[in-house]
């Protein structure tokens, strides 16, 4: 299983690969991933690679990812080349119209890429008083619901609970469930 997780520095994307790693470890599987730290992390585009299984290198090759998780839609579109044919995009959308772009639709169709979009900012504005730092857990919930991540909601819930600092645990679990409900398959 190969994931690519993209977003902007400061959106907390590193937490997602930590959670996926915890899930894999609980199943006694091998994990390997690559993260961005340092200057590249400051507000700009960031990308995490994450692989579960018998791999050697921490990087996902373009055309090989099973799932692309995007915290920001532009970053998601920009990195679609990482997906294999038939792969899945789970994306936080803030400008829905973009999904109607004809070229984008044609590209996704030709490569049989499935899209699960979640309006993360809207949901967090309504339910969490606009505390956008919960975006990462919300998207993890959506990833579980998409069925494409190879991880179950219960596994992820357990990992999120064990990795969350005490003061965020209850809220994290609540938001995880919201993300899960937001995706209908």
């Amino acid at each position: 299983m190969q994931y690519v997780i993209v977003g902007l520095g400061g959106q907390g994307i590193l937490f997602s690969s930590k959670v996926l790693g915890q899930v894999a470890l609980a199943r006694d599987e091998k994990v390997l991933g690559s993260e961005v730290h340092g200057m590249a992390q400051r507000g700009g585009s960031v990308i995490s690679h994450f692989k579960i299984g018998p791999y050697n290198s921490p990087l996902v090759r373009a055309g090989e990812a099973d799932v692309l998780v995007a915290f920001e839609q532009g970053e998601g579109f920009r990195n679609l080349h990482f997906l294999r044919d038939g792969g899945t995009l789970v994306v936080n959308i803030h400008q829905k119209e973009a999904l109607e772009n004809e070229n984008l639709k044609a590209y996704l169709a030709s490569r049989k890429i499935k899209v699960h979009a979640i309006e993360g900012y809207e949901i967090l504005k309504k339910t969490m008083g606009g505390r956008f730092l919960f975006l990462n857990v919300l998207i993890l919930g959506a990833l579980c619901a998409s069925g494409a991540g190879g991880v179950t909601f219960d596994e992820v819930k357990e990992a999120v609970a064990s990795l969350s600092p005490e003061r965020f645990r209850a809220d994290n679990l609540k938001v995880l469930a919201l993300g899960h409900e937001a995706i209908k398959v």
């Binding site: 520095g9 690559s34 993260e35 730290h37 400051r42 507000g43 585009s45 579109f77």
Partner: protein, 618 residues
Amino acid sequence: MSKRQILLGNEAIARGIVEAGCAVATAYPGTPSSEILPAVAAYADELGTKTAVEWGINEKVAFEVAAAASFSGQRACAVMKQVGMNVAADGIMSVAQFNMAGGFLLVVADDPGPHSSQTEQDTRFFSMFAKLPCFDPSSAEEAKRMVFDAYDLSERHQIISVLRPSVRVDHCRQDVELGEVREVPNKAAFKKDPKRWVCLPANVRVSHPQLNAKIDAIAEEFETDFDSYNYEVPARSEAKLAVVAGGVSFAIVMDILKATGRTDVAVLKIGTPFPLPVKKVQDFIARHDNVLFLEETYPVMEMQLPDRTKIKGRWNGFVPRAGELLPEVIEEILYRALGEERPKREEERLKAALQELKVTPKPPALCPGCPHRASFFAIHKALPAAIYPSDIGCYTLGVNQKMVDSVVCMGASVSQGSGFFLAHHVDGKDQPVVSTIGDSTFFHMGVPGLINAVYNRHAFVLAILDNSLTAMTGGQSHPGLGDKLRREDSGVAVDLVPLIRGCGVSHVSVVASYDVAEGTKAIKEAWQFAKENRTPTVVVFRHPCMLLRPKQPRVAVTVDQEKCIGCRYCITNFNCPGLVFSDEKKKAYIDERFCVACGVCRFVCPHGAIVAVDGEEA
């Protein structure tokens, strides 16, 4: 009992350092190495070892502190990023020739790409220059194993061992086996011996040939005794291509071969690139016709071979001579080396969509609320015609505000201020110059430049952007803060202002970064004083870094759409991710996804269009 845990490559290295019985560990932060030292402290706390763990003021100091611990018989290590080795080079080149007493591990992290560095230099090449053995791990797990072997090699040959993880190893996450602390007999017992510990020319005439003999002996060991790092993965059918690969390039090649089901490529992995096990490599080359070398970033392995005629690599440009060897890059090289067409993917529609949707990569930017942004704005307001030399830190990103005219390396903002002054002064011009430098960088290498400027009477303003942190590298401590890494260890904070005065600077002022009016006034006054007295002056801008999540009043703001004339002044000169421009409406607006309500942009708009939301001003 064995225990597996998912660790960052840097944590795996740290765990190895503690398990190997290191007694003194020092570092100066620098991506991609920064997480190693804090992890050393955490494991030392957890496992209850005696290890002293310290940030040095810079890499040279950190290295020299650790080196003397090794002279005393202790196991020691110094950790830095690749350009840190340039700073520490003076010490490293001398100590390379010493017969070390305790094992010494020098961990230097490379950054092919580069992702977060000012150069793409190769530490394996530097090891060759210093004549020091170098280990090049291809995974976190291997990096940890190498720590033990590097220490043993170091003690066997009384030489510094270099471990060179590259960014993909430092920042990979992998499940790694945790072990126990190994008992080592090392203790502090310094034996006075000037022939051994004093680098007089007469002693070097003896020690340099000794160093050569050590490297020859190590080369022999690398030929035969390190098969877990240097090994061949033979082709399972007739080999059409033979690849010699080191570091993470090896791992990438193996994944590509597996994913594509190829059996006609033989691979030789090399984990000890200097001194190269030349016979092993030559034997592999001799058995194949089509040979490719993959290494980051210089052709260091290639260079050690007397005959390169058969080799496709970085030396002859078959492999690009700069840049990171990403999986897609290696894939392309492999197909080219095999003389085959690479499977093509149709990306035209995606390209068109990205263009229509105006999707472009986002370059790094200062965080919303970052005090540096406010300081830059104040400096610009005070002296818009100044030259702005800057330095290495988050504030390098002031380039987005057009407030960074030149950056060289840590500390150079101060010396550049001197140079810009002199160049104009000799022509009889009073050119305003405002240099910017961070607190950590000022301690690191800014101080000598400032003393130099006082001594030689260079008129310019030095703005020290003090955010109480080494932020760019993730938030480490420095001498101005005084806290230390190990539990129950504490240091002393060195006060910035007395230090500046001690350098001989007579005009020093301290302002709050968010107070744009005060900052502007302070810069104007400082330049006036500098010009009149022909001397450097200093303004310290203070506000905690946003990474520290400082408690501060929330001032929610909005852009009055009536008053905004769409001049983009705020975008050009303030450049905040929370304050953006609508191309449709031709007006600025607040992007609430990113705005942290610091309120500073209220002082930016020349038309008064950015205002506090009613009743929300705290």
